[in-house]
């Protein structure tokens, strides 16, 4: 028996072996990539933190001379942007990349190479953005980048770095969100029905779904702003019918949910930590889940509270005030669930994770209460854009995210390193951070009320700001000292220390299952789950897992494998074979990153070339790394269960990934269409009288051709299923021809009617919508060509048609986009007249 176990473990170890030497960096396993990702995010936290200290030196005294105006403006822009895009969002995703599979008893996430690709994009983009500061070329439009300051009044490449660099990183963030959603939905252990999902995974699901719907409006807005900067299409230029307010709507449609995208996954950590220390299951599991989902939904209806002083009508102000206040209710429920869990449980000791939890909640509740104040439009008229707001959101983000993340760091560190962090250093760090934070940020509420606006590089003496700012600066350095202590605690050599015992905190959730330090394979065998806290509730659980009595105890083909289950009740449906280490993700990140980086410098031809190479690299990546036809149809995964190795359509993880990605893309489409109608509401003359384009004929012809392409794509899948090769080739080639003709007709509309996009906002938005739909068609064509090649090369058969199923799914969305675009650009002018 033992011999069998040893042989199994040897094969598992071989399959999941991390490459040595320089090839180490080709690893794609979540345990490595997640740790790089988290470490890099924490590095960016330190970087942006140092920038904060520079600002606090400048503001320590009135008329400060430490930094000049433009340096300060670059620094506050980069501080905010880096904290948001390179720390807060990535740290949520990176922690989830490490722990989500462990919590779900999976060996890895469904698309390991996608995680690795996301990481390399993040690293490349992050270095590009942070590095710009050293060349005095950093963005200086504020993290909110309001045009027309950023569209027409700032030369240099700073704004382009922001727009293109962060769009690149946002796309990587969406990729990670897709992976986390599919991971939570499809890679749970058998038996983990939807009501048994660990709270952390629920929160990740909600936050990742929010990324999916929140980032596209910003990406769409960034696209409009960059196109205006680079090519002069006047989306935000009021002289030519544009409106800077559209940017504010799109930005805050992203920006407000963003806060909850940061906050929810951090509460998620607390929802894992608190039950462990209270030694009992969470109180109000269902309440928490519903509250998290509710917060997610509500957060998309609040964006206007960032725009109370833009002169909107009173009805909107009242409505959005009420909606903004309402979000306090689900937040309150979540906090009271945590308190109730402590109340119902054993008295928790004062360990470092609990200290940070308690301190974080104490701070966060202050931020929540000042948020309730700010949500009320009349108060916001005074407090908006003052240091009161700076104080408020640092209470929210440091109390609601940084402290919980530090709690998580001290709690989960043994799972990374096998060793605990120092209890003594943790306590010192906590008290330094807690005291320093309050000394730094509490006075800001008062300096704001005394009339100190935000984003000022200096202030005159004698207005009642002097002492308050000095206190803030002193506090900032105390806070920084605390963070320095934690940094040392993490980095200090721990060779002489003993490896922590297994499950050192006595937790009940799956991530604490393995002996420490955890093996690269993650979980020895994938367990059957019937409790929210299997380590507490399921008898002999650890032993059964260790002895390989559950699923996939072996890697008989020496391949990386995990189990795919159904979305609601987690019935196993597939044994998923995962791709191993590869450098192709680096090439993909470099070439696609090249598009954005060359674009920043206005080298658009080089950028397009780099992007085209990038598409080729991704095609090769998919060709070599996905949808292989397995040697046998099914595989024994243990416990008498045999699972298929290849599934296609809604059972497969790839189909879900395309579906979820397309929801994000569709959100961007809706954002652009919103722009069209927004211009209609703000311009008396929209579409302008006398505007000939794009007419009705060409757009309608385009719609007909593209619907034909769509239908023919669906037909090709049917024919392929019937193994009618000739029919398949004919239908798919026909679909491609129709697609090309359709895209040409779509662009012919504005082209032949002489719409000149730089002349006014109407031709600009029509052109942009047509190009956006055209981009869908182009992507669809590439996918169709890939399917043709796949079948020609014998990678695709009648039954093994995953690529074709995904292409068909994509075309559903492409057809819908084309139809919506045509209805708007050709139909609306008729209706508006």
């Amino acid at each position: 028996m033992n011999e069998l176990r040893e042989a199994q473990e040897k094969r598992l170890l071989k399959a999941w072996e991390t490459p040595k030497g320089w090839r180490y960096w080709s690893e794609v396993n979540n345990t490595e990539v997640g740790v790089w990702y988290t470490a890099t995010s924490l590095f960016f936290l330190l970087y942006a933190g140092v920038l904060a200290l520079l600002m606090r030196i400048q503001l320590a005294r009135p008329d400060g001379q430490f930094l000049d105006a433009e340096t300060y403006n670059q620094i506050f822009t980069v501080h905010g942007s880096v904290m948001m895009f390179l720390f807060a969002i990535p740290i949520f995703e990176s922690i989830a990349v490490i722990f989500l599979p462990q919590m779900l008893g999976a060996r890895d996430l469904p698309f390991p190479r996608l995680s690795a690709f996301g990481y390399w994009c993040f690293l490349l983009g992050g270095i590009f953005l942070c590095g710009s500061l050293f060349f005095d070329a950093a963005p200086r439009g504020g993290w909110f980048m309001y045009p027309p300051l950023t569209s027409s009044y700032q030369d240099g490449i700073g704004a382009d770095i922001w727009l293109l660099g962060f769009s690149f990183i946002e796309i990587a963030a969406i990729a990670a969100a897709v992976e986390l959603i599919v991971g939570t939905l499809k890679c749970r252990p058998p038996g983990m029905r939807i009501n048994l999902i660990p709270l952390y995974a629920w929160y990740v699901l909600v936050a990742a779904a929010m990324v999916l719907f929140a980032f596209p409006p910003l990406i769409a807005g960034s696209m409009l702003l960059e196109v205006e900067r680079a090519f002069g299409w006047p989306f935000f230029d009021p002289a030519r019918g544009g409106d800077p307010l559209l940017w504010q709507h799109l930005f805050w449609l992203f920006g407000h949910p963003e806060v909850y995208i940061i906050f929810l996954p951090s509460v998620a950590l607390l929802a894992m930590i608190v039950p462990t220390f209270a030694r009992r299951p969470i109180v109000g599991y269902t309440w928490i889940v519903l509250s998290a989902v509710g917060t997610g939904f509500l957060s998309f209806g609040l964006w206007v509270h960032h725009m109370y002083t833009t002169g909107l009508p009173g009805v909107s102000l009242a409505l959005f005030s009420a909606a903004s206040e309402a979000v306090a209710i689900p937040t309150g429920v979540q906090i009271f669930c945590l308190i109730a869990t402590v109340a119902a449980g054993r008295r928790p000791g004062g360990s470092v994770p609990m200290l940070f939890t308690a301190g974080g909640l104490a701070v966060f509740v202050v931020g929540g209460l000042t948020g309730v104040m700010l949500a009320l439009a009349p108060f916001d008229f005074q407090a908006h854009d003052t240091f009161f707001v700076v104080g408020h959101f640092h209470y929210v983000l440091i109390g609601g995210a940084l402290f919980p993340i530090m709690a998580g760091l001290y709690y989960y560190f043994p799972l990374i390193d096998g060793k605990k962090l120092s209890d003594r250093l943790g306590r010192i760090a906590f008290w330094l951070m807690f005291a320093g934070f309050n000394v730094a940020f509490l006075p800001m509420h008062l300096s704001g009320m005394r009339g100190m606006p935000r984003r000022v590089f200096t202030y005159p003496a004698g207005l009642g700001f002097d002492e308050l700012n000095l206190a803030s600066s002193v506090g900032a350095f105390i806070l920084a000292a605390g963070i320095a202590v934690i940094t040392w605690d993490v980095l200090r050599p721990k060779r002489s220390e003993d490896v922590s015992e297994r499950n050192p905190w006595g937790a009940g959730t799956l991530e604490w299952l393995p002996p420490l330090p955890p093996a690269t394979w993650g979980v020895r065998s994938i367990p059957e789950i019937d409790s929210r806290y299997p380590l507490w509730d399921q008898p002999d659980f650890e032993r059964h897992v260790d002895e390989g009595r559950f699923y996939l105890p072996d890697a008989d083909e020496v391949r990386r494998e995990t189990i795919v289950t159904t979305v609601i009740d987690a019935r196993p449906v597939q044994c998923l074979q995962l791709p191993g280490p590869s450098f192709i993700t680096h090439w993909a990140a470099l070439t696609i990153g090249g598009f954005f980086i060359f674009g920043t410098f206005g080298l658009w031809k080089t950028a397009l070339l780099s992007g085209a190479i990038g598409i080729g690299v991704v095609a090769r990546w998919l060709w070599t790394g996905s949808a292989h036809i397995p040697a046998r149809a099914e595989k024994d995964v243990g416990l008498g269960l045999s699972l298929p190795l290849y599934v296609s359509g809604p059972d497969s993880v790839g189909w879900w990934a395309v579906f979820i990605t397309m929801l994000a893309v569709a959100t961007a489409t809706v954002s652009l269409l919103f722009g069209y109608f927004f211009y209609w509401t703000v311009n008396d003359d929209f579409p302008p009288r006398g505007a000939a384009g794009p007419g009705v004929f060409w757009p309608c012809l385009a719609a007909a051709l593209l619907l034909g392409a769509w239908a023919s794509t669906m037909l090709s899948r049917r024919l392929n299923r019937r193994d009618d090769a000739r029919g398949f080739y004919a239908a798919l080639t026909g679909a491609m021809a129709l697609g090309i003709a359709g895209a040409a007709a779509l662009l012919a509309g504005p082209w032949l009617t002489g719409l000149e996009p730089t002349n006014g906002v109407y031709p600009a938005i029509v052109w942009l919508l047509a190009c956006w739909a055209g981009l869908h068609v182009l992507t669809g064509l590439i996918m169709q060509a890939y399917c043709l090649a796949s079948r020609l090369a014998g990678r695709m058969t009648a039954r093994h048609d995953m690529d074709l199923a995904n292409t068909e799914l994509f075309w559903h969305f492409a057809a819908l986009t084309a139809l919506a675009t045509v209805a708007v650009i050709a139909g609306f002018p008729l209706a508006a007249r």
Binding site: A69, N73, R140, Y146, P148, L149, Y153, Q154, P238, A239, D243, V283, G284, S291, T309, G311, L317, A318, S321, A322, E325, A328, I329, G332, Q334, I335, F336, I339, A340, A343, A344, L361, A362, V366, L369, V372, M373, L376, A377, P378, F379, D380, F381, Q382, A383, H384, D385, T386, M449, R450, G451, M452, P453, V456, F457, T458, A461, L463, G464, V682
Partner: protein, 311 residues
């Protein structure tokens, strides 16, 4: 040192500011109580005795603490807070003094539009009669700015191509400071203005004085005027009563009487004027005005004397 009286929203001198300050103090009081209750509950949860563990109590805590109490409190807050909105947003009654303010990088173009008589243009300074509403028409010439006099009331953003309005009603006399509240580029921090709330007759006298053309200079100041015209200052600046009729920069007809210079960046006086003319970008990074560091000291003296004389 700047002898500002106040920039604080907490020492209100206008109807809107008074209402909002009161709202602030009430909300702060209530928020402090709520924080203490939540903190006390959390402490009780940690140290409380065995009785704390009853499931009914747990549920009550979530339902009452997390859902019911916030709903009631927020309902009350909304009822109170939103009842202030109509008053704060109300249009000015007919016959109200209209003042057009245009935000420009990084100064304020101010134009009084009295019911009788021609408009009166000035810059970076607003004087108002006490006890009467004022109707501000707000615009921007370039990027987004925000017009804010914390002591008088809330702020309102200024957009290019999208005018906004703000009605303020000063309730006591005094000197206040207004600032730009929306980040607007390099010298956003240096975009302030003076607000002087006066008794009505005093205000009328001031407005009448502002309407008059510039005083005729003599001696050094007259040399300064010639230098002003010879150096091309008039391309951007207007001094009514002279040939200078530029419209790009601030109207300087009565610049010598202003309470501060360079949009609140410098105290008044000849030294400030010389510093501004010679070291413009040291004072205000990115300012559109070219500096005149090449002028010899005696010419700078004369220019400053001229501008100083424009009371």
């Amino acid at each position: 040192m700047h002898p500002w009286l106040s920039q604080s929203a907490l020492s209100p001198a206008g109807r809107g500011a008074e209402e909002i300050a009161e709202l602030f103090w009430r909300m702060t009081g209530a928020a402090s109580v709520i924080w203490l209750v939540v903190a006390a509950l959390a402490v009780w949860a940690v140290v409380g005795g065995p009785a704390k563990a009853r499931p009914a109590a747990q549920r009550a805590m979530i339902v009452w603490g997390g859902a019911v109490a916030p709903t009631v409190a927020l309902g009350a807050l909304l009822a109170y807070g939103l009842s202030l909105l109509p008053g704060l947003l109300a249009a000015a009654p007919p016959g109200t003094l209209k003042v057009s303010v245009v935000g420009e990088q990084w100064w304020w173009r101010v134009r009084y539009l009295p019911a009788q008589g021609a408009p009166v243009e000035t810059a970076n300074e607003i004087r108002l009669p006490v006890g009467e509403p004022v109707d501000f028409e707000l615009r921007s010439a370039d990027v987004i700015h925000s017009f804010w006099i914390p002591s008088l009331g809330g702020k309102m953003d200024m957009f290019p191509g999208r005018p906004t309005r703000l009605v303020l009603k000063p309730t006591r006399t005094g000197r206040f400071r207004g600032v730009c509240a929306e980040y607007c580029g390099a010298s956003h921090a240096l975009m302030a203005f003076d607000v002087l709330v006066l008794e009505k007759p005093e205000f009328e006298r001031w407005l009448a004085a502002q309407r008059r053309p510039a005083v005729e200079p003599s001696g050094t100041a007259a040399e300064g005027r010639d230098l002003f015209l010879a150096n091309g200052c008039a391309a951007c600046h207007a001094i009514r009563g002279t040939e200078a009729a530029g419209v790009i920069g601030p109207d300087l007809t009565h610049v010598g009487g202003r309470l501060s210079l360079a949009a609140g960046a410098l105290p008044p006086g000849a030294d400030s004027l010389k510093r501004w003319i010679a070291k413009t970008h040291e004072v205000k990074p990115g300012a559109l005005m070219p500096h005149f560091a090449m002028l010899p000291p005696e010419e700078l003296d004369a220019l400053a004397a001229y501008l100083e004389s424009l009371k």
